[in-house]
């Protein structure tokens, strides 16, 4: 029972991170019908930004400012930095291809992902870097519920993820920007005719989606401690699975999908075998696509001819 609960908590932590990445995937896919392979690498860049913020403020052993302030700076800088990077990628790599055959932007996305991964490798080296979180956030902080420990990093991940998802939901449903996002997603040309600035809307979508991936990167660095230039690929793949399982284009769906994938992973690691985790996630993806291609909450896409 005890182990079961602990596994659940761990799974939910990973799941929140997947959900945050999945949201970006889902938003970009919804608005451009583009599978942005570079999204996982944006998450990796976010993790690196967080790492260098820690180094800038004295390193994990001698943080020169209060820890909550440090965390806030890490999250903010990663969000803004990665968001701007995402916008730049959209502007210079994807926008020229907006009316090209579907396969062209996909190949460009592969290229962008490859360039990002190797740029980080060139600039910062290929070795694994450590956030050393326990040295500045005590491992014993946090709460213990009935013997199940939830440490403060996990609490922060839960809080921040849910807050961001709620904020995003409000943004998409309540604001003008959200309305124009939905309009562009459902019919770009019609939206343009109605006076919506399509380029600006798409750029902002990329900004928001990438910023969330950046925040997810920082939090994964805090939670798992280890970052390298290759963490983006698999995380991106699983987050996409989460987006598909939940129903691509749906915010709540991405969240549920992310949590489900996280839980599956942690349960299969504890009760089956950690070596087969990826294969199990893959199996879930295939099963979802074959049995319910629209995902849990997705709507059936109308094929436009």
């Amino acid at each position: 029972m005890h182990e079961l609960l602990q596994t659940t908590v761990n799974g939910l932590t990973t799941g929140c991170l997947y959900a945050l990445i999945a949201l970006g995937y889902s938003m970009v896919y919804g608005i451009l019908k583009l599978l942005n392979f570079a999204h996982g690498d944006l998450y990796m860049v976010g993790a690196y930004i967080g790492y260098f913020v820690i180094q800038w403020f004295g390193g994990p052993n001698a943080v020169s400012i209060p820890v909550p302030l440090l965390l806030a700076i890490m999250v903010l800088l990663a969000a803004v930095g990665v968001g701007v990077l995402g916008m730049a990628i959209e502007r210079f790599a994807y926008r020229p291809l907006r009316d090209a055959p579907r396969i062209a932007p996909l190949i460009t996305a592969l290229g962008v992902s490859f360039v990002l991964e190797n740029t980080v490798l060139l600039l910062f080296g290929g070795f694994t870097r450590s956030y050393s979180t326990p040295t500045f956030i005590s491992f014993n902080s946090g709460i213990t519920l009935d013997g199940v420990r939830i440490d403060s990093v996990e609490l922060m991940i839960f809080g921040l993820s849910f807050a961001m998802m709620y904020g995003l939901h409000q943004l998409v449903q309540r604001t003008t920007l959200g309305k124009s996002m939905r309009a562009v997603a459902s019919d770009r040309e019609a939206a343009e005719m109605l006076g919506i600035n399509v380029d600006r809307t798409i750029a902002l979508t990329f900004f928001i989606g990438s910023a969330m991936a950046g925040v997810a990167g920082v939090m994964s660095g805090l939670a798992f401690n280890q970052i390298s230039n290759t963490i983006g690929f698999l995380a991106g793949l699983k987050a996409f699975t989460a987006a598909v399982v939940g129903g691509i284009g749906s915010i709540a769906g991405s969240m549920i999908g992310g949590l489900l994938i996280g839980l599956c992973e942690s349960f299969s690691a504890s009760y089956v075998s950690s070596e087969y985790t990826d294969l199990i996630v893959f199996g879930i993806l295939i099963a979802t696509m074959l049995l319910r291609p629209t995902g849990i909450l997705g709507q059936k896409a109308l094929q436009k001819v």
């Binding site: 291809l97 396969i103 060139l122």
Partner: protein
Amino acid sequence: MTDPAQIGRDEWVARSADRRDEGTGLRRVLNQLDARVGWWPRLAAVALGGVIVGQLLTNVNLQQVGFNSLLYALLALGLNIAVGWAGLLDLGYIAFFGFGAYGFAIFSSAALGTGGSGGAHLPAIEIIVIVLAAAGVVGVLIGLVALRLDGDYLAIVTLFVGQAFMEVVNNVDPGTLGGVNGLFGLDPLHDFGGQVSSTLGYYYVALAALVLVAAVLRLLDTSRTGRAWRALRDDPLAAAAMTIPVNRLKVMAFSFGAIVGALAGILFAAQQSTVFPTNFTANILILIYACLVLGGVGSITGAILGGIVVTVAEQMLSSPTDAGYLFYGLILLALVAKVRPWRRLAWVLGGIVALGFAAHGIVSLISSSAVAGHPGSTGWIGSVVSNYVIVPSNPVGYGNVLYIVVLCAMIAVVRLEGVRRLLAVIPTVYIAACCWESRLIVNPAITTQIMIGVVLIVTMAARPQGLLGSRRVEIV
């Protein structure tokens, strides 16, 4: 110029069409020649050229490069079936390559024996027949999954297939598949009492395989099946309405691609005499994509050319002397191709040279340690540029900063127009040269990867049909 607002013609296609105009002078003659010569004399010429090149490959390193070129050409050909003809973005292709390699490894090593001895050790023909048939079946199975998926979903599922292949060979049954240590001590290709033992021998085997596959694919391309694939690629719905069996064609495309990929895998494993899981990562997949995209998606000649160009370029990058030729040669080529008229070109080139020597002179007057480093290039290029580029004694951090600056400068060049663009080109090229000499050339492996990514992005933006591909007409 085509009027962008013309009805019934996609603007993007029209722009590409303009770029691929008939041309004049020598280009026109070449185009006409191109139209007259049939496919089999060309293939015979390629085969003959391959044999002649084989005779010229005197040392083992060159022979290895030759073999790799042909191997990647073969891989690109196989990928082209699904991606170029049928329009299915298959990101799991690497699994078929790996399947062929592991298939060969299992039947030609001690993997099926016990305790490192025994095993199957089958002759080449039997292995090839078994493995290719099995690969065809696996291709059908994956194709069946693909039937229910469209475009992007297909891409992600097949990407997972590639990942799953890695997981399987890493984790499942390490006794047979070798786990992370891979399989080693494979027999060379052998049959009828003889065996292929030298790299040059494998070069000729690969050449024969490539010519054979290219001939079969050429016949397939113009057959009913080939035409149906293209119809499927351009518009699945319309193809289905014309009673084209869409499902069967998709499965066939996967299956044929799988067979070609597996054949390449067999050659690869036999030549290496080892297989490791890391031979089949996503990086290799992207390399194959770069070959195909650069050569031209949908074109047999393009796939072969792309395979050769990418492999040779990769090899050149790893040698500090040859990498200089590649880098400065490409810059010169791009300038000559893009800057017109020649008077302007002369100004730009003069500006680039003058800026460099001036900057080097000024900086060396201010601080001698700032120019104390040596350029990464060797040979005569190295000695020429040693008074041209600024390389400090500790170039790592400096090179990293320059790398970011180069990226920003390149974006600026793309954004600017007219004379301003030309003015921006001059410092960009100079900074790029400094960055190249101080940082990029020192890390050939990473530089290769970055350049592959850039090739994908730039080709898609500037010339989507690749060097030799045919234009895709997207019906709007």
